[in-house]
Every structure is written in C-alpha cells, then in structure tokens.
Amino acid sequence: MHNTIVLVKKEFRSYFSTPLAYIFLVAFLVITQWLVMRGYFLRGQADLRSFFGLVPIIFILFIPAITMRLWAEERRQGTIEILMTSPVRDMEAVLGKFIGGWIFMGLAILFTFALPLVLKYTVAPEVGTDKGPIIGGYIGLFLMGGAYLAIGLFSSSLLDSQIAAWIIGTCICFALYMVGDPFGLFALPQALVPFFQYLSLSRHFENIARGVIDIRDIVYYFSVIFFFLFLNSCMIKSRK
C-alpha cells in the first residue's frame, strides 16, 4: 500500500514536470467548453446534456493520449528495469500509475466547473437547475474516464511504440463505447443483444448521467477497470 502511495505521488507529479499536462488540460477545456457554450444560449435550457454527450467521445481520443507514454516511456528511458527489480509488486506498480492518472483526469473534469457555474447564474431563478443529473454526469465521467484510463494503460504495456499504444487504446475504448449502439446491435442475434448492451460503456454512462447512481453501473465500471489493470499486471509479469 505504501509503495502504491509513493508511486501515485510520483506519477501525479510527473504529469506537471513536462508541458504535456498543461497542453492536455488547456486543449481539453477549450475544445469541450467551446463546443458546449456555442449552442448553450440558443438552446435556452440550463442543463449540461451537450457536455455529457461530448466528453465521453473526446475522452476516447484524449485519455489514451495521456496513458500511451506511461509504460513506453519507462521502457525508453530504461527505468522499467529499476521499477521491476525494486521491491514493488507488479499490481502495485500498475495501481500507482493508474491512480496517479485517475487523479489527473479527475482534475481535468473538475476544471470544467465553470459550466455548472454558468448554469447557476443564467437559469431562471424560479425553476433553478436540477443538480442530480449534473452530479450524476460528473460521477459517470469520472468512472468512465477510469475505464478508459485502465484500457489505455493496458495498451501502453503491450507495445514499445507510443503511437501504436495510442491507436490500440483508442480502438478498444471506441469498441467498448459503441458496442451497445443500436446501429451495430441490429446485426446481432437477438439473444446476444442484452449481453452486448450490458457490455457497453456508453449505456452505463447514460444511466448515471440521468442522475441515477445504480449499483449495477458501479460494479460494471469497477469490473472493467479491474480487468484491464489485471491484464496490465499480467503483461508486465510476462515481459519480465
């Protein structure tokens, strides 16, 4: 546990020791908030539906971009040998990187707080905003981002090339996001439809973003995170 905490601190600090974190945060915030705000006053509704519709798709591209370097960089710099020969277990090392990344991603999500503030100050005072879907949406984003992050981390452990890791990470995230899409489900046998729907990251996110925190969705996201972290640690072990 102690090792994990040390690694988490190291990982989180490492984001801010290069311009990468700043570029990521600024690009993410400007793009998403511009896309949301350009139609906000035209729609005339004080909710964050467009934000919660956009961010899961933007994350598919952005999160594998921050995870692609996590293992590849260790290999390139030769620090992976130090890490693997130190008294740190594989799972601890994986968890350290994951939690560090998750906190960084949580920070990125938290920095969009300007949007709920705009809602608060622009909504008609007699109706007010419904905080439920906003809180639910943020919790959903955090969980979904965690799942993307675990997938990205796993893909980074597969290959030495950062670009290849990014492409694989993006493809897996996209596939898990789209697997419940009606367009794809039409072609499947009827018996498999509920299974694939359950497998879909987007469907569980939609549930939470309505403002309903359901144990099924929570268990699903933690299962995805755990499974990919487990795969990751197996991959590290096999490469030793």
Partner: protein, 551 residues
Amino acid sequence: MSRITKTTNLTVVVVSMLLILVVVNFLVARHLVWRIDLTESKIYTLSPSSKKMVENLKDIVTIKAYISQKLPPYLSTVRQDVEDLLKEYQAYAKGNLRVEFFDPADNDELKRKLMYDGVPPLNIQTVEKHTFEAMEAYFGMTINYEDRKETVPIIDPETLEYDLSAAIKKVSMPKPPEIRILANKDELDIDKEYQTFMKSVQKLYQASPIQIEKGQKIHESVDVLIIISPKNFTEHELFEIDQFIMRGGKLICLVDAIKIDQRTLEANPEKPNIAIILAKYGIQINDDLIEDMRSSGMAAFSTGYMQTMMQYPFWVSVERDLNREHPITKRLSALVLPWVSSLSQSESIPEGVKLTALASSTEAGYQNTAPFDLNPFKQKNRRITKDDVKRYNLAFLAEGEFTSAYKGEPIPKDDEASESNKENEPAAPPSSGTTEEQRKDKSPETQILVLANSLFVRDQYLYATRSKDNLTFLENAIDSMAIGQDLIGIRSRASAQRPLKKELSDAQKTTYKWAAILGMPIVIILFGLARIPFIKARRRYYELLLTKDKE
C-alpha cells in the same frame, strides 16, 4: 518453465478472471437492487403518490406486460427500465401486485385477445442482414383488478409511472369520476378542437361533452363540470349550474370575456352571463385584455408571404408568478395564455370561501380596455410608464361552502320548454330540472376554478404557444378536483424544464460564454508559466548532482 506453458497459464488465469467478473456482474444485475436517484423531483424513483396508492390496495392487481422478446435495440433497453419500475411497484404493494410477462410471438390466440383488449402490435422497421425489414412487436400492458381492466396500449417510458398509477387508480376505484364538458355546441366542436385535452382526460375519467337539454338538471353522478368558452346561458341553465355546485359538484370555468376574431385580430367585449353567478361566488371577470411587458410568449404572424415570430405581450407567459405553494401549479414551468382577461375578487366575497390566485402576470402587466388594438406591429409605438403597469390575477381557485346565486329567488322558468308548450300544446314532456324540494341554498365544501381564457388548451394554441404545461395545468386541476392530489405529483415532476433568465443581455451572454471557455485555461497557462523557473532550478540542481557524481 517453458514459454508455451507460461502463456497457457496466463491465458487460463485471464479467462478465469474474466469469468469471475461476468458472474459477479450477472448476479448483481439479477439480484441486487440498490440505487440513488439524485434528480430534484426524484423522476426515476416511484413517487410517494404511487407508493401510497399501491400500499392501499385492498385486493390483488395483476399487471400483464405483453413485451416481445424480439425487439429493436432501442426498445430492449427500455424493457429493463420497465422491469425495474414494476419491481419497485411490487416492493411497496405488500403482495397485492402481481406482474406477469408474456411474449405473444407465435401465439395467435393471445394476439387475437390482445387485439380485443386494445394492445396493438407495433410495426417497426429493423435492419436484418443489411436490409430494412418490417417487424411486428408488442410493447403494451393490461392492468386487471377484479372484473375491471385498463390498458396501456403502448408503453411510453416518459409517462409510464403516470400511466400505470392512473390505470391502477382507475381499476381500483369503486367508480371512476365523471367529467362533463359544457361548451357552446353551435360554435365549438370539443372533440375536434380540444382533441389533445379530451384524449388526455379520457385516459383516466369518463369524460364527454354535454348540453343542458330542455331544463334538465346536470346529472348527480357528474363530479366535475368544465365549462369552455360559453355563450349566454338561459336563466334556467344558469340555475342548474348553480344547483350543481350546491350539490357539491366542482366547476372549472374557462371563459372568454373578449371575443377575438383570430384572422383580423378584431376584439370586442362579449362577456357571457355565467360571469354574473361567478361574481356572486366571489370571482369577478374583467372586460379587459392583459399584456405582460416583461414576460410574454412568442407568436407567429403573417405579413404577406412571410411569417414573423415575435414576442407578443398579449400572450402572457406566466413563469415566476405561478403559485408555488399550490399542488396544481407547484411544479409547472410556464403557462402561456393567449389573450387573457384579468380576474379580481368580488366586492363582497361570500363568508367561508377562500380565494387562491394560481397564476398572475408580472408587475409589468398592462390592462387594455375597449377599443382594443391587438396589432403586434403597432405595439412598439406606445409609451407605457411605470404607473400604468401592475400585477393582475389570471387564474383563481375558490374553495369553501358557497351560497346559491339564486337564494331567495323563485326557480327561473325553462324558456325553451315553455315556448314549445305554447306552440305545440300539450306535447312537451315535463321538465326534469331541479325542483323546489331538491334545491339547495348552501353548498358543501367544494371548488371552483376560473381562468378568463379558453384558448390556451385548444389544439391550435397548444401547438402555437409550445407550452406543454398548459395542458398539465388543466389536467392537474381536474385530478385535484376529481380524485384529490394523488396523481398531480407524478405528472408534474416529469414536465420540469429549465429555461434561462429572460433578462440576460447580449453582453452578459458573451461574457458568460468566454469566461466559461477561457477562464480556467488562462489560469492553467499562468500557473504553468509561474512554475517554469522552479522546474528549471530543479533541473539545474539534478544536473549539478550528476556532474558531481561523475567527478
């Protein structure tokens, strides 16, 4: 260990882990129900009204859900929501609610039965092997109680709780309330022009238009009488309406005090005589039209070949000034009332009667009196000062024990009956109106709702005003009068919209927009720039250490 054995072991471990996770998810999905509804109105949780309703069931209600196994994907996700909701109902029903699922797929006999019960098959287009194909699917339910049955022909997830609770209420009530609609039959076809309203009321009640035929009284089984855009009644008809209230009947009056030609926008006072008895119950309808300079609806006007959408103060949009204490209006977002007249309290309000304003204009309400000029393009040239405007009441609910408007007077004669008696002696049948023995001068506790506008729920204006709450307002009022306030909570909570402030200027909008887009990124850039010297200093320190080590 050989490489092959290592890979096999790893695969076995990974597959085992995957299987464990699949089983855990399966068990949780099937057996564990735990969820928190964070929404303000608890939209996704069974409402207290529904809980109370099923808790109080005296006998077993059986819900038969006819849902095809083979459904297009967008409907199969809804199936899960339907099952969840039904589970919640069952949890509160103390064993008095049974749920059964059927797939009518290959059962022709069941299909015929469903056709008879009013659950139609849906014809849905789906994609099969890259081609569009039509498929037949069922997505409805019946609610059965003793020998009574209600149908939800097509499940709409948005309104399912209301539809189900309404159906359960209806089958389990000893007698469904009777609603009658009284309108001027020569000018208004209620079934045609108020189709949306009628359909919605008929979901729950026995509702149909009536006329007071030749001096007959309004039947005692009628619970709520809705008068829509009436012309002048005969004295005897007014007396029968009065006696309906004295017997404890509830009245909703949508009266137009000003007659408007909707093509030419000519307006003339033409207050029907029901206003006289309403004044005696405490509610005065004024001969005016209210404009709201601060909160008005959008209206479309034709100018030659063009159609222009504009803010039209004669279409009063009541948002802030809805009564937030009363269940009828508590959760509504906005009512849009086209060409509405104001109401005031009569000079002498009867003792024991309480008036509640349900909707008012803002403080910027302006009272127009005859001659009226409703032309939207002329409005801008007027000068209206602060002293000319004030708040006006637009909907009143009177509750209490009312005194008859005909107290101490003889029963008015039925004009039509007496005329026919003169002409065709002795043919006319005896009048079955209220007799001297039956008449009452004091009502039990009852309610009268008055709104000086009948257009706001007419199909044409429901569409033109784009206000979903117009219909909800009237539905809530009927529910409140007919069966108490059980169902209001369920309906109103789904209709919450979150409009923006109206008074936001363009400059404010631009400020909010750019503050949201650039505010945080600028802070992050500044923070990053401020850290550069520290990072450089640290790097220099490490480089120095490395150089020393090498030396």
